[in-house]
C-alpha cells in the first residue's frame, strides 16, 4: 500500500529570489520578486503580488525541533505561518511530519519568547539594547582567548556549524561542547570502529527482520519521521517485515512489535553474546573477522546461562536467532537504553557484531558515502561533552561560554556539580528563544529568532537514502524586531574578530547567498545561473548532494566482557519520548496535551512499573511513590504497566522545569537530576540508564492527569472489536505479503 501522493503539482511552492528574476521554461511554478534580506517588519499595506488574501502560500524550509532536520512546507496566509507539513522533496521527511514538527508553530508564536537582549545586573536579568549587548560581548570576548572560551551547543550542522567552527578558530579555542540527551554517541563510536563510518545509512525498508535492543527508532530517536517512513515500507514489502523489540520499558516502537520481550536492564550484552553463540556454534555461521578474545567470550554464554541472567526465555532466544538467519537481510539495532550504560560501548559493539555475523553490513547497513562538505556536516551532541564541560568549569578552566540550543542546567545530573561549575564561569552568554533554565542562569541573553523566521542550512547526520543539504528560510517576517537569527549572531561575532573577512556580508542571508554561489557545479544541478540555483534550492528546500558509492568495512572490535550488576534495587530508565523529547518541548501546549503514547499521561510526570513489582511493594496504580537514588529522590505518581521488566522503573523525561515559561514551569519532576554520574567506560558518555533506585510508597492513589481512559475497562477492548488483530499467515494468503 504505497504510492506517494504527488502533492507537488497541486501546490504553488514559492521561493525567495533575487531581484527581478523569473524562471524560464520548465514545469516549475513562477518565482517571485522579493526584497532580500530585509530584517525589519514589512508592512502589508502593499503586499507582494502573489499574496492573495484568503489563499495560502507555501514555502519550503527545515524543521529544527530535533536533530533529524526534516524538510518542511509551511503554509503562510497573509504573512503568517499557520501550519507545517512535511516536504515531499526531502528524503528525510518524505512529505511527513511528526508531532514535534507540527508543534513548531507553537514555539514560534510562544507567548514566553524572549523579546529583548538581557543583561545581568544586581542578580537579575534586565532588558538592554542590542548595542549595549554587543558592546559587552565585544569587551568580554576580546578579553578571553584560547581554551578559556567555549561554545556549548546542541547538535549543529550546515553553514551555522561552519561559522561556529570559524569563530572558535578566531577565538583560538577548540572547546566546542556539543550536548544532546537524545543521542547515539556510543553507537557512533562503535560504528566508527567497526564499520569505518560513524553514521552509516540504516535501511529498515530493506530488512526482512529487525531485532531492536531498545532502539526507539520511531519515537525519540535521531530521525523519527524518516525511520517511520522506512518502517511503513518494511511492513508493506512483499514479505512483511518482522519486528522484535527487546527492552526493559516499552517504547513507542516497542508498541508495534510482533514480539516484545522484557529484558533485565543492563543484560543486553549477555543476550547479544548468547545470540552470537547460537549463530556461530549451533547454526554454524562463519566467525570470520571476530577477534579470538571475543570468540572465547561468546563461547562462554550458553543459552541457559543467558536465559537465567537476562530473564528472556531460552526458547524465545533460540527462535528469534533462528529467524534472523531465515529472514535475511535483517537488522539488529541498539538503542539509548543500551548505549546509556556503564558498559554501553561494549554492549553496542556486541549487538553490532550480530549484524556482522548475519552479513547485514552492506545490505541493511550501507555506507553514507563521502559528503563533499565536511565543514557543513553535523557536529553531533552527546553527554561526554557535558561531563567534560562540567569538569573543566569546576576546575575553573573556562572564563566565557556561549550557550545555544542546549539546556545543561536542566539536563545535567546533579552529581556532575553543574551549579558549581556554572558559578565558576565568569561570563555566560545564552543565545536563546525561551527563558529556559540555562538562559536564566546566563549573564547576557541574546534573543534568537525562531527557525520559522530565520535563514540557515541543516545537514542531518541521519540521511538514510540519499544525502542533501536542507535549506532553512524564513516563512514570515520576524514576530519581534529585536530577535536575531543564529546565523546573524554568529556573523556579528565573527565580524568582531575578523572584520576583513566577514565585514563584506551585511547579514547571514548575504553570507548564505555567497556560500551558495561558491558551491561546486556538481551540486548546482544544471542551474543556468546562481540565482536560478538559489531559487531552486529555496523552492525545493533541498540541495541534493552526490556522495558517491562506497562500501562499508565490517569488522568486530574487542570489547569488554559484560559485568552484570546484581545489587538490589530497580534500574531507573529516564526515557525521552516523542513529544516533550528531552524536555525541550515542555513549553509547547500541544505536546503537553498530547497523551504519552504508552501510558497516556498528560501535563505531568509519572513513573512506570510492572504491576507485580508494585504489588510486592504495596504500591497501587496512581499511588504516590518516592524514587530515590544515591544522588537524591523525586516524588511522583506511578502508572502500572505490563510493558516493563520487573526490575526496571521508568520515568519519562520532559517535566520538572523550574523556568521555561507558563506551560512548562512547575509541572512534574525531572529525573535527570538524580542520575549517578557514571559514564561509559570507553566513550565517556553518561550512563543514564545505570542508576539504581529504590521505590517507596508514600501516598494512596489519587488523580493523575491521565486520559480517563476506560474507567473500569482496564485498558482492554472488553471483547469489542475495536482493534482487530490477524495472524500474518492470513495476510500472506489474502494480500500476498
Amino acid at each position: 500500500m504505497s504510492g506517494k501522493m504527488n502533492r507537488r503539482s497541486f501546490l504553488k511552492v514559492m521561493g525567495w529570489s533575487g531581484a527581478g528574476v523569473a524562471l524560464t521554461g520548465c514545469d516549475m511554478p513562477t518565482t517571485v520578486t522579493l526584497e532580500e534580506g530585509k530584517e525589519e517588519v514589512m508592512s502589508y499595506l502593499m503586499p507582494e503580488e502573489y499574496v492573495i488574501p484568503g489563499v495560502g502560500v507555501w514555502y519550503a524550509s527545515t524543521c529544527t525541533q530535533c536533530a533529524a532536520g526534516c524538510g518542511i512546507h509551511g503554509r503562510v496566509r497573509e504573512g503568517r505561518v499557520l501550519k507545517l507539513e512535511g516536504n515531499p522533496d526531502s528524503a528525510v521527511s518524505n512529505g511527513k511530519l511528526c508531532m514535534m514538527g507540527q508543534a513548531g508553530v507553537q514555539g514560534h508564536y510562544n507567548p514566553d519568547r524572549i523579546s529583548t537582549p538581557m543583561m545581568r545586573s544586581g542578580g537579575s536579568l534586565t532588558p538592554v539594547s542590542w548595542d549595549k549587548a554587543l558592546a559587552m560581548l565585544e569587551e568580554k570576548l576580546g578579553a578571553v582567548s584560547g581554551n578559556r572560551f567555549a561554545w556549548f551547543t546542541g547538535t549543529v550542522s550546515g553553514h551555522q556549524s561552519a561559522l561556529l567552527t570559524n569563530h572558535l578558530d578566531a577565538m583560538g579555542s577548540t572547546n566546542h561542547y556539543a550536548h544532546e540527551v537524545v543521542n547515539n554517541a556510543v553507537s557512533r563510536a562503535v560504528n566508527q570502529d567497526m564499520l569505518g563510518e560513524a553514521n552509516p545509512r540504516l535501511r529498515l525498508d530493506k530488512a526482512k527482520m529487525i531485532v531492536s535492543f531498545g532502539a526507539d527508532f520511531m519515537g525519540a530517536s535521531q530521525s523519527p519521521v524518516q525511520y517511520s517512513v522506512q518502517y511503513a515500507k518494511f511492513r508493506t514489502n512483499k514479505e512483511r517485515g518482522l519486528l522484535v523489540q527487546i527492552e526493559s520499558k516499552m517504547s513507542l516502537t516497542g508498541g508495534s512489535a510482533d514480539l516484545w520481550l522484557a529484558i533485565k536492564p543492563g543484560t543486553e550484552a549477555v543476550l547479544a553474546l548468547g545470540m552470537a553463540n547460537l549463530l556461530l556454534n549451533k547454526i554454524k555461521l562463519s566467525d570470520a573477522g571476530i577477534p579470538s578474545d571475543v570468540r572465547t567470550l561468546i563461547n562462554s554464554y550458553d543459552i541457559s546461562k543467558v536465559a537465567k541472567i537476562t530473564g528472556v526465555a531460552g526458547d524465545r532466544i533460540q527462535r528469534v536467532t533462528q529467524l534472523l538467519t531465515e529472514r535475511s537481510p535483517s537488522l539488529v539495532l541498539a538503542g539509548a537504553s543500551v548505549e546509556g550504560q556503564t558498559q554501553g560501548y561494549a554492549t553496542t559493539a556486541a549487538i553490532m557484531m550480530l549484524n556482522h555475523i548475519l552479513g547485514n553490513v552492506g545490505k541493511t547497513i550501507e555506507s553514507a558515502g563521502d559528503f563533499p562538505f565536511p565543514q557543513l556536516m553535523a557536529k553531533q551532541g552527546g553527554t561526554a561533552d557535558l561531563v567534560a564541560f562540567a569538569e573543566a568549569a569546576k576546575a575553573k578552566k573556562l572564563d566565557t561560554v556561549i550557550f545555544h540550543g542546549s539546556n545543561p542546567v536542566y539536563t545535567a545530573p546533579e552529581s556532575l556539580g553543574l551549579t558549581e561549575a556554572m558559578a565558576n564561569i565568569g561570563f555566560k552568554v545564552a543565545i536563546s528563544q525561551f527563558p529556559d533554565e540555562t538562559t536564566m542562569a546566563a549573564d547576557l541573553v541574546l534573543p534568537m529568532s525562531s527557525y520559522l523566521e530565520d535563514w540557515g542550512t541543516q545537514v542531518p547526520a541521519d540521511q538514510a537514502e540519499s544525502s542533501a543539504i536542507q535549506v532553512q528560510q524564513p516563512l514570515m517576517e520576524k514576530l519581534n524586531a529585536e530577535t536575531k537569527g543564529f546565523g546573524d549572531i554568529l556573523l556579528t561575532l565573527l565580524k568582531q574578530r575578523k572584520k576583513e573577512e566577514y565585514g563584506q556580508f551585511e547579514d547571514y542571508y548575504a553570507y548564505l547567498r555567497n556560500a551558495f554561489v561558491a558551491m561546486p557545479t556538481s551540486v548546482k544541478n544544471d542551474a543556468q545561473s546562481n540565482d536560478e540555483f538559489w531559487n531552486a534550492a529555496l523552492q525545493t528546500g533541498v540541495i541534493k548532494v552526490d556522495v558517491g558509492a562506497k562500501d562499508l568495512q565490517s569488522t568486530v572490535v574487542s570489547f569488554a566482557a559484560p559485568v552484570v550488576d546484581d545489587s538490589a534495587g530497580l534500574t531507573l530508565m529516564p526515557s525521552p519520548r516523542l513529544g516533550l523529547f528531552d524536555g525541550r518541548h515542555a513549553n509547547l501546549p500541544w505536546l503537553q496535551e498530547a497523551p504519552d503514547q504508552i501510558s497516556k499521561v498528560v501535563w505531568d510526570s509519572w513513573a512506570e512499573m510492572h504491576p507485580d513489582t508494585a504489588a510486592k511493594m504495596g504500591i497501587e496504580n496512581l499511588g504516590l511513590v518516592k524514587v530515590s537514588s544515591v544522588q537524591g529522590s523525586v516524588t511522583l505518581r506511578v502508572v502500572l504497566l505490563k510493558g516493563m521488566h520487573a526490575d526496571a522503573v521508568a520515568i519519562p523525561l520532559g517535566q520538572g522545569h523550574e523556568a521555561y515559561g507558563r506551560y512548562a514551569k512547575g509541572l512534574g519532576i525531572n529525573p535527570l537530576h538524580i542520575l549517578d554520574a557514571a559514564t561509559d567506560d570507553k566513550t565517556g558518555e553518561l550512563a543514564m540508564y545505570s542508576t539504581r533506585v529504590t521505590v517507596k510508597r508514600v501516598g494512596p492513589p489519587d488523580s493523575l492527569s491521565i486520559v480517563r481512559m476506560g474507567t473500569g475497562a482496564g485498558d482492554s477492548q472488553v471483547g469489542r472489536k475495536l482493534v482487530g488483530t490477524v495472524p500474518v499467515e492470513q495476510v500472506r494468503r489474502t494480500e500476498g505479503t
Binding site: 511527513k96 511530519l97 510482533d258 501546549p589 503514547q597 488483530t725
Partner: protein, 280 residues
Amino acid sequence: MSLDNILNHWSDYRKGAEEGGHHEYEHRWAMAINLDLCTGCNACSTACYAENNLAVVGKEKFESGQAMHWMRIERYWDQQELEHPEQGASFLPMMCQQCGAATCEPVCPVAATYHTPDGLNAQVYNRCIGSRYCSNNCPFRVRYFNFYSYYESSWPEPMEQQLNPDITVRDKGVMEKCTFCVQRIRTVKDKAFMEDRSVKDGEVVTACAQACPTSAIVFGDTMDENSMVSKLWKKHQVERGIYQKTKYAKKDTDLRGYRIFEELNIDPSVMYLERVREDI
C-alpha cells in the same frame, strides 16, 4: 427540513440508506486506516490541533475528560493474561466516522448536524444550542463539547496568529467534531470548479493523513473508482450502506478490512484494516 422534503424523499432516504446513500452524491469522502502501520505516534492528532484551531484545555480540564482532541489515539492492551504485552499495544486512531446513517443527526433538536451531499456529517456551529444529545447518541463518542470559552485562555498572544482563518474558533456551548478537514475539501472543490475539472485523487488530503509518517491513513473519494481509498475498500470487500452483515456479507472473511460497530448499522465512512502480528 420542510414537510415537503420529508414526505417526498422519505422512501428515497430509507431505500438509499440501505443501498449506500440517498443523495445523488458527487463525492463520498472516506478513509481507510491501516492499523498495522499505525504506531500510535500522535502526529495525526497534533496536526489536527494545528489545522482545526482546537483548544488546549490544560491539566485540570483534561483530567476531567473535557479535552478537545477530534482525533484521539486510543491505546488498548490485549493479551492481558500474559505477564508482558508480547504483541505490543493496539493503537486506534478514532475520529468522527462520518456515518452514512448517523445516529447523531436525527436527535439534534435544531438540526445543527446534518448529512452533506459529500457524504459528510456536518456540524453547524452557529445553529448548535448545546443540548448535547448528538454526543450522547454517538456510539464512538467522538463529539466534543465546548464546555468553556477556550478562546479566552488557550491562545495567549501571539499564539492566536497561528489560528487557521479557514475555520472558526468555537465559543462555549457548541458541539464540534472531526469534519474530514472540510475546509480543505471546499478549497480544492472550489479550485477544481474554477478550473472546470473534477477533483483528482490525492488532491484533498486531511491534516491527519498528511502528517502520518507511516501513511497509515488514506483519504479519498469512494465515488471515484480509481482512488486509492476506493480500491482499498473494494479489495477488503467493505461496502457502503447499511445491513452489510446480512445482505452483503464478505465473501472472504479473512480480509482485514472492517468497520467498527458494524452491527449497529450506521454505515461509517472509515474502514480500518486489522493489525497484523506474526506469532513466533
